[in-house]
């Protein structure tokens, strides 16, 4: 599973993307984030405040309760600020 990070999430995690093999209990984006937060100090820092995180599964915006089953690409990022 490919995980992408953007903006300050990317900076805190310390990398723009990684390929991971999540444990079977990571069935939602939120659960995946819980697990990712245990993988490094940077991840823990990036994911400390869930209210400031947004996500996309296979490039579609979703809530943190969305399923990651069968997903190829998960993106985790701050609220968008374009325009």
């Amino acid at each position: 599973m490919r995980i992408l990070y953007f903006a300050w999430v990317r900076e805190a995690v310390g990398m723009p993307e990684e390929i991971i093999d999540p444990p079977p209990e990571a069935v939602t984006v939120g659960a995946l984030i819980d697990w990712l937060a245990t993988t490094s100090e940077g991840h823990a820092r990036a994911f400390a405040d869930r209210d400031r995180l947004r996500a996309a599964v296979d490039q579609a915006f979703v809530g943190l309760d969305a399923s990651v089953r069968g997903a190829r690409e998960i993106a985790i990022f701050p609220p968008v600020t374009g325009g």
Partner: protein, 168 residues
């Protein structure tokens, strides 16, 4: 005609205006610029290649259906830019002005919340990521409920310096 461009190149409004005018009677545009008066020396725009273009094409398609537009254009700059430079240009053309003006407002309101861009401002030695504004969520929300995008209308655009031009 849908035209979506995400690029590091400066936005050429004369070209965009000419392209969107076509045979329409009314064209409304919005241009967002790096403000030259609030101390920012560099504005950096990060985006999610692929997902960004898809979101913008979807947005342009929804607006085109909802207001029977002749054309919808969204051009968004990414990368570093200086004060006074254009960040975004949106345009809508239609037979009459009401549709063009409303669709233009819709495009920029929804772009602010629906497309994966992130701004970082540099002031002096300090850089910080721009916080989202509640007023942007409110502006986007007043357009719901929206018509869902039609089947098959969502094209995934290339994240190159070129753009996506789709005839309808």
């Amino acid at each position: 005609m849908i035209r979506v461009i995400v690029s590091e190149v400066q936005i050429d409004v004369a070209t965009e205006m000419a392209m969107i005018e076509g045979s329409a009677g009314a064209v409304a545009t919005f241009t967002g610029l790096v403000r030259a008066d609030d101390g920012v020396s560099v504005l950096d725009l990060e985006h999610y290649p692929g997902a960004t273009e898809a979101a913008l094409v979807r947005l342009a398609n929804v607006a085109t259906s909802r207001w029977s537009l002749c054309a919808a254009t969204i051009v968004h700059r990414v990368g570093p830019m200086a004060p006074g430079e254009r960040i975004v240009f949106v345009g809508a053309s239609a037979a009459h002005r009401g549709a063009a003006l409303e669709a233009c407002t819709y495009l920029i309101d929804r772009l602010k919340t629906d497309a994966p861009f992130w701004k970082r401002e540099t002031r002096g030695m300090a850089s910080n990521w721009v916080e989202p504004r509640d007023s942007d969520d409110a502006a986007a929300a007043r357009w719901t409920p929206i018509n869902p995008p039609l089947e098959g209308e969502v094209a995934v655009a290339s994240a190159t310096d070129g753009g996506v031009s789709r005839s309808r």
